[in-house]
């Protein structure tokens, strides 16, 4: 190789690759905190990182570069700049089911994600907290007993239904919006 004469190979080692990749895992410079090396960046192909200097010189005029796996700290971008480019909302989990909730007599609406609840009791408890009311006892035969507030929802067909009648999974797919009605209207 052209440059071997200039460089004292006994004293130095020709290495331009990922620090610590010669014999070890490339996790050499991984940090445990947020500023750490993005795991996605590290190469799985250690050999391609250990590129001796001479190979990369003008001998390779054209674009026949060695397979470029990502090198530590290159390009020189701070980690938060890489992190931030992934939108916060692009979570691997499926998107939430957001619906509007209104209550009679209250001038503003709320929005909730039905996906975060496991069932009706949780949903009702949250609605009660949000709007400061008590829903009463639910029974299949009589609906909500003991309160003038009744939770209802509009389903896909546009009909107003009583919350709790259908199985939960069916409910979250068919519910378009929620309305907490005041007893006097029923």
């Amino acid at each position: 190789m052209a440059f071997e004469g200039d460089l004292n190979l006994e004293a130095t080692e020709l290495r331009l690759g990922l620090p610590g990749t010669a014999d070890h895992d490339k996790s050499g410079v991984t940090k445990s905190n947020k500023r750490g090396l993005q795991q996605a960046q590290s190469s799985d192909h250690e050999e391609s990182n250990i590129v001796s200097n001479d190979e990369n010189k003008r001998d390779h005029q054209e674009s026949t570069r060695p397979a470029k796996a990502q090198v530590v700290g290159w390009p020189p971008i701070r980690s938060y700049r890489k992190n931030c480019l992934q939108p916060k909302k692009a979570e691997p989990e499926s998107a939430g089911v957001y619906i509007k909730v209104s209550m009679d007599g209250v001038p503003y609406l709320r929005k909730i994600d039905l996906k975060i609840y496991k069932g009706y009791p949780e949903l009702l408890k949250d609605l009660e907290d949000m709007f400061k009311f008590k829903a009463g006892e639910y029974s299949e035969r009589e609906g909500y007993n003991g309160s003038e507030f009744v939770p209802t929802y509009e389903d896909k067909d546009g009909d107003w239904m009583l919350v709790g009648d259908v199985p939960w999974n069916m409910f979250i797919t068919s519910c378009k919006r929620l309305r907490i009605m005041k007893g006097s209207e029923l």
Partner: protein
């Protein structure tokens, strides 16, 4: 060295020294006795008393004059004139800048400069930002705050860059400095929300809390609520990269009771609706960093759509705008009302295209600083060139920072900018392809360039058109840009490029080199030619011991030298350490490499120190 309390007193335009002052350990022979203690005189005391020794008069005058000297280079020069000037300058210096925290010990600083009100300290070298430095390397604030806490009870301002602090350090800071006013932490780490809470609660005079680019661990402490009740003195609150949720109600209340607040930069946890609420409470803002710039789908969020444009309209003093995280571009028109007055615009987190950029940028006629993502493409940069003739600083960041990604910006964008923005002083440009011609054009069209940083992301990439090295381009930059002090290179570069840099880069203070050069000769050119070189950072370049040894004449004048993954050996580094006893020569090794004794050096980091090698090193550090 004597601490002449006479000068303290005269500093306050008061000519009567107290009895304690007569006990100064002055080593000048032939000094007269000090005037009667207790007698109050005016400034003309020289005329009333038996005339003081001529040297004393000179010192008094000097002290008054030196108060006007603020630039540290001027002060450093003044301190070298003679002992008397050295003393007087030391006593009148109120701001101390420490470029390398390990170059001097805290006690030496406090001993020399007793009346300091403001301190700036820089720690790790820049390459640490890119994971090139082993964990826990150092740069701890602890020893500094401990020493300064005792020596400078009246300290008002601390600026730290790339240092590590603990919660305890921040507590101590709050406890030690009663009138503390300004805390600026840039690229720092090591502490959490608990530390912030300490600052908020203890520093009742706090005007500035700036956490730019600083990592804060989320300990769950609601630090925003820890500011004292009632009106605050806050002028600047910057936490845009603090990745912790914050108590919005507390923030809103804080903003509402901070009438002096001019700079507010929010983190991305703050929604657009919340931003609106803050803006209507603080129309006096001059600098605003938005949080998320789009509607939030968070549970329970109000469905209301605010008139965001009116909020921006109301901020008539807004000159600096940033943030735009998680942007929904449809909301961008809200900022139209402020564009005409904007001096600085940071869209570098906004993945917008040229069509989304154009309507904004063409209204920003006064713009001087612009940061964007390369998603705006060459066309977007052309629009910038057409709209912003006053542009001084441009930074183009890559949306996809990988070597072989698509490159939306190229030499075309650079050329356009050089033609439209002749006043350009600073540029940072990430791209996948570049030509010498465009770089040469910029060197000629933008003679005021002080900072030129080009990052061609593909390593060893030649000129895209001619396939030649980028030597001529960088050569033109150092030749034609006579004010250039900072240069970062990339792409295929031979020793010739370094010959140019050494020959013409006489004012260059900071040089950043990566994957470049052919042989030791390249580095030799730089070390022999660049007389003003202060900071040299090199990675993955074929420079070895011979090159290292060619810089012995210069290393004491530098803030640091960093060389990683080059061709250095322990032997060579040891020779340097032997030749220059006051140089601290650190060899850093990456995890797993500490025990390797093959003589190869992972990282060489060296700097001059007045107080010898540090004693807080970890296993990965060897000091020769």
């Amino acid at each position: 060295m004597s601490e002449n309390n006479h000068l303290h007193h005269h500093h306050q335009n008061h000519c009567s020294p107290s009895p304690a002052e007569t006990m100064s350990e002055d080593d000048e022979p032939g000094r007269p006795q000090p005037p009667d203690p207790g007698s109050k005189k005016t400034r003309n005391c020289a005329a009333v008393h038996p005339s003081p020794h001529p040297d004393r008069v000179l010192e008094i005058v000097l002290e008054h004059v030196l108060q006007f000297l603020t630039a540290r280079r001027d002060r450093n020069a003044a301190s070298l004139v003679c002992k008397s000037w050295y003393r007087t300058e030391a006593l009148t210096r109120s701001h101390v800048f420490i470029g390398n925290c390990y170059s001097v010990s805290p006690s030496r600083v406090t001993a020399r400069f007793p009346r300091v009100r403001s301190v700036a300290i820089k720690g790790r070298p820049r390459f640490a930002d890119f994971n090139l430095m082993p964990l826990n390397w150092g740069a701890h604030f602890g020893p500094w705050v401990a020493t300064m806490g005792k020596a400078y009870p009246w300290l008002e301002r601390v600026y730290l860059k790339r240092m590590s602090l603990t919660d305890r350090d921040l507590c101590l800071l709050g406890d030690s400095f009663v009138g503390f006013k300004e805390l600026e932490l840039v690229c720092c780490d090591g502490f959490g929300t608990g530390g912030l809470a300490a600052i908020a609660s203890k520093c009742s005079q706090l005007r500035v809390l700036d956490l730019s680019d600083t990592e804060v661990m989320n300990d769950g402490v609601d630090w925003i609520s820890c500011f004292p009740e009632g009106e605050t003195c806050l002028e600047s609150l910057i936490f845009d990269y603090v990745e912790c949720p914050i108590n919005f109600e507390a923030l809103e209340s804080l903003v509402a009771r901070s009438p002096a607040l001019k700079k507010l930069r929010l983190n991305r946890e703050v929604s657009l609706g919340q931003l609106y609420r803050l803006m209507v409470r603080a129309p006096q803002l001059t600098h605003l960093g938005t949080g998320a710039f789009g509607p939030s789908e968070a549970q329970g969020a109000s469905d209301q759509e605010y008139d965001y444009a009116s909020a921006f309209s109301a901020c008539k003093s807004l000159v600096c705008l940033s943030g735009f995280r998680e942007i929904v571009p449809e909301y961008l028109p809200a900022i139209y009302p402020v564009c005409a007055n904007l001096v600085s615009l940071n869209l570098s987190h906004a993945n917008i295209n040229v069509e989304q950029l154009k309507p904004i940028i063409c209204q920003c006629r006064k713009l001087q600083v612009l940061w964007v993502l390369d998603s705006v493409c060459d066309e977007g940069l052309k629009a910038v060139a057409a709209a912003c003739p006053d542009l001084r600083e441009l930074r183009v960041f890559p949306f996809d920072p990988q070597e072989d990604a698509e490159g939306p910006v190229s030499e075309v964008g650079l050329q356009a900018i050089s033609e439209g923005c002749p006043k350009l002083e600073s540029i940072l440009y990430f791209c996948q392809r570049m030509t010498n011609a465009a770089v040469i054009a910029m060197s000629k069209n933008c003679p005021d360039l002080v900072v030129f940083r080009l990052c061609i992301m593909g390593r060893h990439q030649p000129d895209y058109v001619t396939r030649e090295p980028m030597d001529e381009g960088f050569g033109a930059i150092v030749m034609n840009c006579k004010k250039l002090t900072r240069l970062a290179t990339s792409g295929l570069m031979t020793d010739r490029a370094f010959a140019y840099i050494g020959k013409y880069g006489k004012l260059v203070r900071t040089l950043s080199v990566a994957f470049a050069g052919d042989s030791d000769t390249g580095l030799k050119y730089v070390l022999e030619g660049c007389h003003n070189l202060q900071k040299l950072e090199i990675r993955d370049s074929p420079f070895g011991d011979a090159a290292l040894l060619s810089g012995l004449h210069h290393y004491y004048n530098m803030r640091f030298l960093w060389m990683s993954s080059c061709h250095l050996s322990r032997q060579g580094c040891r020779e340097v350490a032997r030749a220059l006893p006051r140089l601290v020569v650190e060899l850093l090794s990456y995890e797993g490499n500490e025990k390797m004794d093959d003589g190869a050096v992972d990282v060489l980091y060296m700097y001059r120190s007045l107080d010898g090698p540090r004693n807080d090193t970890s296993e990965s550090v060897t000091i020769l």
